[in-house]
């Protein structure tokens, strides 16, 4: 019993004691969650359809994947084109994407949002507060 309530401490392994405990708890909890999920499904029987779907029924493919692509392009563009140009580009395309229509007013709104936001952020962060910009 004493062994169970005592942790062997060795300096070279200090960094592993707590992660081992946390991983063990995670595995136990994970196993219980998975077991409960399958147990519930078995109880409901095979007639019950799977009720989980990752995306909502009416999900907007263009806006979701479009914004995800723009988000992941942004850091690459920043490294190549600098903060101002890449941010104006991101803001313009993202606002336009979220409006969802390519019309004169939408283009105007997107451009205004892009230019105003970029310059205000550049001025407030970069000039006023002297924060490092990409």
């Amino acid at each position: 019993m004493e062994d169970l309530l005592t942790v062997e401490l060795s300096f070279s392994e200090y960094h592993l004691i707590f992660p081992r405990i946390v991983i063990t708890i995670l595995l136990i909890l994970g196993a219980i969650i998975v077991f409960r999920y399958f147990y519930k499904r078995m109880k409901l029987g095979s007639s019950k359809k799977r009720d989980f779907s990752f995306f909502i029924a009416t999900y907007d493919k263009t806006k979701l994947f479009g914004s995800a692509i723009l988000l992941f392009l942004y850091p690459f563009m920043m490294e190549r084109l600098g903060f101002l140009i890449s941010t104006i580009g991101l803001m313009f395309f993202m606002t336009l994407l979220f409006i969802g229509k390519i019309k004169k007013t939408a283009l105007f709104t997107s451009l205004t949002n892009a230019l105003a936001t970029t310059f205000v952020i550049w001025y407030v962060f970069g000039q006023l507060f002297d924060i490092t910009l990409p």
């Binding site: 309530l5 005592t6 942790v7 062997e8 401490l9 300096f11 070279s12 200090y14 960094h15 004691i17 707590f18 992660p19 946390v22 991983i23 708890i25 995670l26 909890l29 994970g30 219980i32 969650i33 409960r36 990752f54 995306f55 909502i56 009416t58 999900y59 907007d60 806006k63 979701l64 479009g66 914004s67 995800a68 988000l71 992941f72 942004y74 850091p75 920043m78 490294e79 903060f83 941010t87 991101l90 803001m91 993202m94 606002t95 979220f98 409006i99 969802g100 709104t109 949002n113 936001t117 970029t118 952020i121 407030v124 962060f125 507060f129 002297d130 924060i131 490092t132 910009l133 990409p134």
Partner: protein, 500 residues
Amino acid sequence: MELIGVLSPMSILLCFLGVLIGIIFGSIPGMTATMAIAIFLPITYALDMIDSIGLLIGLYVGGISGGLVPAILLNIPGTPSSLCTTFDGYPMTQNGQGEKALKVGITASLIGGLLSLTILYFFAPLLASVAIDFSSVEKFLIIIFALTIIASISKGSLLVGIFSGILGVFVSLIGTFADNNEMRLIPPGLEEQLVYGFSLLPVLIGLFAIGQMLIEAEEGMKPATHQNIDLNKGEKSRFKFRVFKNQMVNLFRSSVLGTFIGILPGVGGSAASITAYSQAKSFSKKPSNFGKGEPEGLIASESANNGLTGGALIPLLSLGIPGDSTTAILIGAFLLQGIEVGPLFIPTNPDLWSGIVYALIIANIVMFAMMFFSIRYFAKIVYIPKYIIFPIIIVMCTVGSYAINNGVMFDVWTLLLFGLAGYIFMKIGIQIPPFLIGFILGAQCEKYFIDSLKGNGGDLTVFFTNGPVALVLWILIIGAFVYAILDNRSAKRNDARDAS
């Protein structure tokens, strides 16, 4: 004047700005005080502590208060703590008394905020003076008590909530352990970038802001329901302070209830507002009017949820544990400034402590002045299109993440990685607030755990035998856990009843 000695004109100005931005965030359905603080954390990096406190306290008070605008006008609680505000606020709007409802709510918020501040001022130093002698064993148990917040804020499955919190603890352990300078859990090839683990800020804003943006994009960035709201229909609908006549007991009771519920980790704003509302109804002379546009209910809900602001800061400033997810982010702000909140915080940072108290007073008064006299304009905020707001948030998050360690692109990738993780978490049911709290408290939890074992030859029984304080903490931990289980069961029963 001491106020000017403690708070600089810049910090007062930033407090004004914080309140304004907080109200805007609180007013837009889907945005919260938590998100406002997360997004504005990067700016605090360039400010000194007292200025950043002005900004953050302003955002906190403004964000919580702004939640009443969509609750009253659209029947959508801007923050979870505005839930009961919808019960009587929205019927008042439907009766053409929207402006009156908003002003009643704003005034009740001010009184709730100031009363809770008074309790914070006297109670936090007292609690800190008791906690100052705690050893690493008690500190470890306090963190475990704080982690029980995870159980209480778990929505739906308690087990998944706890899993989410422990997952947060696990992610916080990635990097180097300071005691023996050894790395662990780092994926191959990322040793250089992750030597100190993931930075808190990109993780936090990625989970809250980018994850939410992807969810909104999936739903098509739909605008809030537009309505033609007549805020003020006729003489009878005008706001008069007379409405507070005979409401002093209700105001005081609800504010104190809100404050004390705020002290308990994880019980949260909605519980404060519900408890105060149900108490007001029980003591009311006209309980049948509740839910039909009765200002008494609105007063109870709003004074309780602003009472929460001071209450949630008590465990934060005296013990270093967050009272809710918003104050969990405030811990992040302190860490960014190199300050560890806990029992030593008030005695070693008296100016900062005074600064927080003054900032809270100013923020509450500014909130009242701004909202009371300009409420017609703030009412329009609920209609700001999301297609304008979200791209701005993305750029601010990116700039903030990049700047936090003086220009590290890996932090931007961390932001995106955790944004994507936040989106997936929301989809598969892993809960973000518990994950975040686990992430924030994980490293400290490990430190005190190892320190306790080192001081006692690896003996685990020390956590139970270290004296009366440890025993009291165990009682609190078990009590909080049992409360969470019972609360979770009753929520499930209510959900099942609503579904049938």
